[in-house]
Every structure is written in C-alpha cells, then in structure tokens.
Amino acid sequence: MPKAPSSNELLPLTPPVFHILLALAHEDRHGYGIMQDVAQQTEGSLQLGPGTLYGCLKRMLAAGMVEECDERPDPSLDDERRRYYRMTPLGKKLVRAEAQRLAGAVTVAMTRLAGESA
C-alpha cells in the first residue's frame, strides 16, 4: 500500500472527487447512488462513467478520503447487494478546504468579471 499523501498534496481536488465527496456528505451511498447524486448536483453536466467513478473511489480509498462501510441491498433498486461508501474525517476536511478554495476563486472571478463588463 503506498503511503497516504498529506492533505495539502491532495488539494485541489478534481471535479469528480469533489462531487463524489459532496455526494457522501450526509449519507453513505453505493456506486450508482453516488453517480445519480453527482448528476443531480451538477444538473446533469457531470455524468460519471463506471470507470471514472470506481477509478476515483480506488484512489480516494488509498488516500483515506472515503472508506467502504458495508455491502447491502438498496431497497429502492432490487435485492442485489451493493458496496456502500462513507466519507472519512479527512475527506470531510478536504471537501471543506476545496469548497473554500472554490468560493475564494468565485469571489475573485465575480469581482474581476463584474469590473470588466461594467
């Protein structure tokens, strides 16, 4: 197992990682649940394919941002067992830091672009 990188090295987060963490902010989800939630968050502009989603999850598990919690069926789909993921404290810290960074960037952008258009 490679050594987990420090949280500074993990920032900024890529959009898929950021949205996956947001999807796990309040509840544990399985892969398809994450995919649906991310699509909802981004109003359909970010559709995670299976490879992208599980590739990200693999790296996020290695970095300690998420953990697997259990395998259970999702009653809203069928009775097949699905693997559920949960955000770790590190994941929470990172998603907050990223949101802050984005908020800062948005503020700067608003100021500059407002000045430009005026």
Binding site: M35, G49, P50, G51
Partner: protein
C-alpha cells in the same frame, strides 16, 4: 422477464467483456460493482426515456472505458515497477553477468599476443578479440543457416598450445589433414608446390638447418609431441598432416616456435579466429605473459605514447599462400 431486461442483459454482458481491458487487480476489485452500476443506469434510463437513451448511455460509456482503462493500466504498471525496483537492479546485473559469461566463453574472447612469432601481422602487445564461433563445429543445423566456414590454408587461428593447454597461441594454418609439408632453405613446400608467402618475415641472424630445411632429426628443443611427429608422420622427407590435425607456422618464420618444434595442432584445440586488434601496447613479452605491477604502472604512465594507435581496430588478415 421482459424484452427490455433481455436487451439490457446483453449490453451488460458486452460491458463485462470490455472490463477485461482493465488490469486484473482492478477488475477483481471493481468489476462486479461497475457492471452493476452499468446495469442500474441502463435500466433507469430506458425506464425513464426509452431504449434510445439507454443505448446512448452505453455508447458514452465507451469513451469512459477507453480513458479509464488506459489510466488504470498505466497506474498498475507504475505500481508494479515501484514494487519491483529494489530487486530489479540485482536481476539486471545477474542478466548482464550471465550474458557476459556466455559471450566471453562462447562468442568472443580477448587475448594478448605475447610473442613476436606472428610479427608482420600481429605484434607483441596486440590485444585481440577472437571470434570463437568462426571455426567451431556448426552442427547439422548451423551448417545450413550460419555463415560457418571451416579452417582453410592461410587462415590465422588462435588455439591452445598442445604442450600446455593453459596457453593460447596465434599462428597461421599452413597444412590441413593430408597435406605434405617440407622446407627448403626457409621456403615452405606444400604437396610439392613451393609457397610464395608474402606475409612472412625472415630475419634470421644465423642459418639453422632444422628451421630452414625441416623436417630433420629432432633437435634439443623439439618437444615430445614434435618428436612424435618426426617419428611417425614423416615420409620421404615430408611431414604428412594426419586426420584431425593442423600444421601451424608463425609468420615471423625464423623466430617462431611452431609446428616444426612442437608438432601438430589438434583441430579440436582451435579456439577461434582473431578478428580485431582492439588495443596494441608496446611492451616486452614478459609483461604480457604474467601479471606484474610494473606493467600496470608502465601502462598508466605511457598509455598514450606506447599505444600503437595505428594498429587499433585493425583486422588480422587471412591470406592464402600463392
């Protein structure tokens, strides 16, 4: 089970095949959930907005598949390389050493010419590479596919000195099995024909009947093998080369311990063909016969001045006598 689920099942099986593009470790860990996710999505999309959209989703998955399969392959290869790293240098060295041992024992070997017996062509201190395959037994297959050629008259060959196989000699092969050899006043006659040998050098300081009018009765420095040759293989004043043997002479004809003195060279003692002088250094015979510190110091001090630069990378030539 309706037609939709059949149709989706087919797509899922197809996707299951595509998963083989991912590295095995990744596939084992995530293959099943990925397939599950693919099926869930197809099902939802076809339920909501029809079969066409589900197909559209399946097609868009292909671009995801290409990108991520490449990415996972690359990361798996990198992880494997990192894992191997501490061992790889050792194995690489082992490989190098094996190849080196193989190459130096079966393909080429380096020798130093310690004496002036081939002077004119090879000088004392010539460091030569010997092609060990050139005169080796090619075997039934190699004979057809490799450029083998058996020893011919006039070839220069490196061989084990028959009286002491720890030493390697380099001489010119004059007689093949069946050839009749004799000397008249320093000139070689083979099978009754006088040889014109432009490559030889005659710098005799004194006449020597044994040397110049060979064969003669043994002299004190004729070795046991030489005596055996004179005893059993001389007929009508000529040496007859027996099967499996070669008659070898130095080009520095008047100053060469060769077949005249120590007899025939067994064919199997031939090591190979000198192909290249890779370094030539001017120093006395003794320095090349045994290792000594003085020689090392000498080379260190005079490397540039005593190296015979014009001989470097020269090729010792075979030459058929006229």
């Amino acid at each position: 089970m309706n037609s939709d689920s059949l149709w989706i099942g087919g797509l899922c099986r197809l996707y299951g095949l595509l998963l083989y593009a991912y590295p095995a470790g990744f596939r084992r860990e995530y293959g099943r959930p990925m397939q599950q996710l693919f099926r869930d999505r197809c099902r939802d999309v076809s339920r909501g907005s029809g079969r066409a959209s589900a197909l559209w989703f399946a097609l868009s998955t292909i671009s995801d598949w290409v990108r991520t399969a490449v990415r996972e392959r690359a990361s798996a290869a990198q992880a494997a390389a990192e894992k191997r790293a501490p061992r790889s240098s050792a194995t690489e060295w082992a490989g190098t050493i094996l190849i080196y041992l193989f190459a130096t024992t079966t393909l080429v070997q380096a020798y130093v010419v310690p004496t002036g017996s081939m002077e004119g062509n090879l000088l004392i201190g010539d460091h030569i590479l010997v092609d060990r395959l050139a005169y080796s037994d090619p075997g039934p297959l190699g004979r057809r596919i490799l450029p083998y050629r058996d020893i011919q008259r006039g070839d220069i060959a490196a061989f084990l000195y028959p009286e002491d196989v720890r030493t390697t000699y380099v001489k010119r092969i004059i007689g093949l099995p069946g050839d009749r050899i004799h000397f008249e006043n320093g000139t070689v006659f083979r099978n009754g024909r006088r040889l014109a040998e432009p490559y030889t050098q005659h710098i005799a300081s004194f006449p020597d009947a044994y040397r110049d009018n060979f064969p003669r009765p043994p002299e004190p420095f004729t070795t046991p093998r030489g005596r055996d040759m004179l005893e059993h293989h001389v007929c009508d004043g000529e040496v007859i080369v027996p099967p499996g043997m070669l008659f070898a002479l130095g080009d520095n004809r008047d100053n060469s311990a060769d077949s005249r003195y120590w007899g025939f060279v067994p064919r199997s003692y031939v090591v190979g063909k000198p192909v290249l002088v890779y370094w030539s250094y001017d120093a006395p015979t003794a320095d090349f016969e045994s290792w000594n510190l003085r020689h090392v110091v000498d080379v260190a001090q005079h490397f540039f001045t005593r190296t015979r630069w014009n001989r470097m990378l020269s090729v010792p030539r075979s030459q058929e006598a006229q």
